[in-house]
């Protein structure tokens, strides 16, 4: 065998002798270990020199978000509890990777724990609370995967009283976890988490509300007259539409009118009584007006 042939054979043999074949690594990126690492990285300082993210406004937005969220009373307890018990839950969790964060993070002190979702155990079930709805969906998904739950989290901008709550879920075999000290604009306790059996493995989707940015249209909204919403306590329901104008001025809100269920493009204030309304974005509200005797009956008048 000549030298060239020998060299080719040896190199081919070396390639075949790969001690970690690529096929062994195909599933690695979807492992719980990888998910946990991704969650920790995304919640760590994103720049090497400690400078803030591009746009200090983001931090301001988050502060505002948190104030609104806490202002509803929605998840004050959940946030405090989640931060306080994170260390305990992480350490006592069944996920072995979660119980040794330093090993995954390389023991670096700059890595802060991700307390975006609180997992705790209760009577053979897992109690899940999403404690930071400002986190990007990818990060929340990664954390759920790290805990063995194939639950996709979608985060959408919502009206103030819904921020920090679950607005949609198709997860089977779950019970809703509600905060009885909190009301959304739609009434009832705030849906802040869910409870699944410890053996739960079914896939599902959950949509969580986050506070909208100024001017950002809400994708889910509650009655604008409900607790925590823009016209709470205004006493306008059942009053003539014209009565809303001074209130809207004081609260720096613009309005879109819906008369008997139909949009009106007229700039004039419609006749009729205010029956309900919803937030459109942080500066615009939609007010339903019911005109008695008109063909379309419109929505019934709500009492607040």
């Amino acid at each position: 065998m000549n030298d060239k042939r020998m060299t080719e054979n040896v190199v081919a043999s070396l390639a075949e002798a790969n001690p970690v074949p690529a096929v062994e690594l195909i599933a690695a990126a979807r492992s719980a270990q990888a998910d946990l690492l991704l969650g920790r990285i995304l919640s760590s300082e994103p720049y090497p020199d400690g400078r803030r993210r591009a746009g200090a406004g983001l931090a301001g937005t988050r502060t505002l978000t948190r104030k609104i969220w806490l202002g509803t009373g929605a998840a004050t307890v959940a946030v405090a509890a989640a931060i306080a018990v994170y260390g305990q839950t992480a350490a006592s969790n069944d996920n072995p990777a979660a119980s040794r964060p330093d090993a995954v993070a390389g023991g670096r002190s700059s890595v802060r724990p991700a307390h975006l979702v609180d997992f705790s155990r209760r009577d053979g079930s897992i109690v899940v609370k999403i404690t930071d709805p400002d986190a990007p969906s990818s990060q929340l998904n990664a954390i759920f995967r790290a805990h063995g739950l194939e639950i996709k989290v979608n985060v959408i901008p919502v009206s103030p009283s819904l921020a920090g709550t679950i607005v949609y879920s198709d997860v089977q075999s779950t019970r809703e976890l509600r905060d009885g000290n909190c009301d959304t604009g739609g009434g009832g306790g705030c849906w802040v988490g869910f409870i699944v059996p410890a053996s739960f493995t079914r896939p599902g989707n959950v949509t969580v509300g986050r506070a909208a940015h100024p001017g950002e249209q809400y994708e889910s909204t509650a009655s604008v007259f409900g607790p925590g919403e823009a016209l709470q306590g205004s006493g306008l329901v059942g009053k003539p539409a014209a009565d809303a104008l001074p209130v809207l001025r004081v609260r720096h809100l613009t309005v879109r009118w819906m008369v008997n269920g139909l949009w009106t493009h007229s700039p004039a204030t419609p006749d009729g009584l205010i029956s309900d309304g919803m937030g459109w974005n942080s500066t615009t509200v939609v007010i339903d007006v019911h005109v008695p005797g008109a063909k379309s009956p419109g929505p019934p008048v709500r009492k607040h």
Partner: protein
């Protein structure tokens, strides 16, 4: 504010995609060099570094990540005693010695010993091509040299490995490229 928020989310999305594409290859790269036990910490260090320096990531990020990993491995080895390095190397090479047939066992044993006897720069260029399946241009990016230089290094490394397997060249006579030490740090410092 929305634009800023979009930028931050865009960064996170970009990193998440990079992570999903690269975690497996980077894990493989590290395990092939330091064994399973230390790989987890080094992989974490690689991706934390990548997250903090994401703005520097090229569109084809794998060679860039391998280079970060190579630096991380060099940093780790600097702090270790020689016997630990040799022990790690033995762990990495051990799978090479496992085969079904006696002649294959013997050949792979020879191959493992020959690979171990190569200088680290030679070994690395062969691993990048044979195990990481990089083309010469990407391997050159990992090592911080030109593609032409990489080709020369590869040619020489292949020949040295073959000679060692044939027993034509005793381990102590392996040539070290000019200016390189038998330590990964030497490559790192040249970049």
């Amino acid at each position: 504010v929305s634009a800023h928020h979009g930028s931050a989310e865009g960064r996170e999305t970009r990193f998440t995609e990079l992570f999903a594409r690269s975690y497996g290859p980077v894990l493989g790269y590290v395990r092939r060099r330091v064994g399973t036990e230390s790989a987890e910490d080094i992989v974490a260090e690689v991706f934390f570094t990548a997250w903090r320096h994401l703005d520097r990531a090229p569109p084809e990020a794998l060679p860039w990540l391998y280079r970060i990993a190579w630096n991380a491995i060099g940093n780790q080895r600097r702090g270790q005693a020689r016997h630990q390095r040799l022990q790690q190397r033995a762990e990495v090479l051990a799978p090479l010695r496992v085969a079904d047939h006696a002649d294959e066992v013997a050949f792979r044993d020879t191959l493992a010993i020959a690979l171990d006897a190569l200088a680290e720069p030679d070994r690395e260029v062969l691993r990048l091509i044979c195990w990481e399946d990089l083309d010469p241009a990407d391997a050159a990016r990992v090592l911080g040299c030109s593609t032409a230089t990489l080709r020369v290094r590869l040619h020489r490394a292949r020949k040295r490995l073959a000679r060692l397997v044939q027993g034509a060249e005793p381990p102590h006579a392996v040539a070290v490229p000019h200016g390189a030490r038998q330590d990964p740090v030497s490559i790192q410092e040249k970049r």
